[in-house]
Symmetry: C2
Subunit: 322 residues, 2 copies
């Protein structure tokens, strides 16, 4: 097993290659070419946090990937990052663990941001110029950076529950801190990135033609968008099975407001673009699919320089000395 | 993160303490004190193999455990062990990965054998003297050792599909290689440990009063016991939810031969022993529960000597030198 540190991961990380890999992964997933594990999940109340375990194998690949990622939202209060975890690359021929990517949440953060950007590119109206970001955490920052770069946004509006954090983020990203109503009235594309458990965006707040990428609701109990808003919208989901279970979409489907059959899977949309009407509200509901982890981990794994020594060599050397 | 090698794990492994921990885990699981992840699973056809991902947190614990284990049954043909994998101990307060136990399947093998021995002890008739082991792999060996030690068995009969492997195993364990009909006719307690996908033991082959521990069928599609045999038996399961889905029990429940409500969970049986009739066939169907992984990993974690240096220290030292 090769132990790959976060700095080694950062050294070989190629954002464009990873983005292309994740996009390809979505297409192959929706084409039925991926085997996924059931999503493993543990939730903690005090302090609040959760752990997600996802795994995927793409047909024909020599390796598969298992990811363990944790989020503890109060960690920053103690000076710790909220995200932690790793991905492992495992041989699909022998089951040997080939590499442990100690990304400490970095790759999960990146692949989540990439899914947001891929979905944004797929649903944004041509000429969109104002991006609205709801939330002030890691995803707020990454999505703002990636989407504004990818879609050439001219201005970014930020809103979040913590005005100080929003102000810092807006300043760093060259955007503006505004109130949520203003953001909804002016953004062409809104990205929601919060761990909210009650809707932040209601049907009433959203203008016709607005495009929304919702990445926060990735566990049962989380919700950023009012069900009535989804009822008015055309809905793109990263995984139909997952979104009806624990995305924003799930609330609307369970309330009988959205027909599961009307959901468009992102991979299918990428393979065969849909002409949305200019007045359509289009929502991309993203819950995170193991295929994203598999693709980003493989893109790191394939770029690693040859290992001079395996980490176990160090260990046994040291043990010999002690 | 502390990287703990297999030899470090072996150095601190205390079989009796681990057995007690796993037994306590079963009790607490059946008492509703455990949070488990959905079981993640990937299956591979060529070469045949699978990967299981399980995780658990016990109420009040500062840590939780995620386990990744692979089994590739043809690895031994290439001189490789069939089992691989690791367990991680993660803080339930911050989500930080505290330790990676690179057990390479050792702890999964041990906790599986321990569950078999715990179940055997709970269902065996007093005075049982002949143990029958079906299969010739790692579990056949470990269950033979642990159960004969724990229950003081006088003789062990072995049967498996590969006569040469069985002969080697029987010789090493001081037992006898016999045919399957003979084994069923003479064993007081039978342990089945194969990856069979069609029943090996039928209702017709099993005498009244026989006790059976079935540990092989841990994935959908696997089956060691004929459904009609379960229909005649009293059934103990490690996890009701899991066994009706993918244990031997599942086949019998789906066929309408066994009522789910009649299943006795192992942890409940341990907490409140049931008086089985001497003529009862009693079957313990074990599919492997995340709680076993959590308990055995914690028992290693709690016994580790203080780390002099974390493995990352080596890594960065070395990187500085390169």
């Amino acid at each position: 097993m090769r132990l790959v540190t976060r700095s080694e991961i950062e050294a070989v990380f190629d954002a464009d290659a990873a983005l292309a890999a994740v996009e390809s992964g979505f297409r192959r997933f929706s084409a039925g070419e991926a085997q996924l594990t059931a999503v493993g999940q543990l939730s903690f109340a005090d302090p609040p946090g959760d752990c997600h375990v996802k795994g995927a194998h793409l047909a024909g690949d020599d390796v598969f990937v298992i990811k363990v990622a944790t989020s503890f939202y109060r960690n920053p209060d103690a000076g710790l990052p909220s995200s932690n975890g790793f991905m492992v690359v495992i041989s699909a021929r022998t089951g040997e663990v080939l590499a442990l990517l100690r990304d400490e949440g970095l790759l999960t953060d990146q692949r989540t941001a990439m899914a947001g950007a891929i979905a944004a590119r797929a649903i944004a109206k041509p000429g969109s110029s104002t991006l609205g970001i709801v939330g002030a955490g890691t995803q707020a920052r990454l999505q703002a950076q990636l989407i504004s770069r990818l879609l050439g946004m001219k201005s970014i509006l930020f809103w979040g529950r913590n005005p100080e954090r929003v102000a810092v983020l807006a300043a760093k990203q060259g955007g503006r801190s505004v109130d949520l109503v203003y953001l909804c009235d002016h953004a062409d594309l809104i990205v929601t990135t919060t761990p909210a458990t009650e809707p932040l965006l209601t049907a009433e707040m959203i203008r016709a033609g607005t495009r929304i990428v919702a990445v926060g609701a990735d566990s049962p109990g989380k919700q950023e968008l009012e069900a009535a808003l989804l009822a008015r919208a055309r809905i793109v989901v990263d995984s139909r099975a997952q979104c009806v279970h624990h995305g924003d979409t799930g609330w609307a489907v369970r309330a009988g407001l959205v027909d599961e059959a009307s959901l468009i899977e992102l991979g299918a949309l990428l393979a065969k673009p849909v002409e949305f009407d200019a007045e359509d509200i289009v929502i991309a509901d993203l819950t995170g699919v193991g295929i994203q982890d598999a693709e980003i981990a493989k893109s790191i794994w394939s770029r690693l320089p040859p290992a001079v020594f395996q980490s176990e060599v160090f260990q046994s050397d040291w043990r010999g000395m002690s």
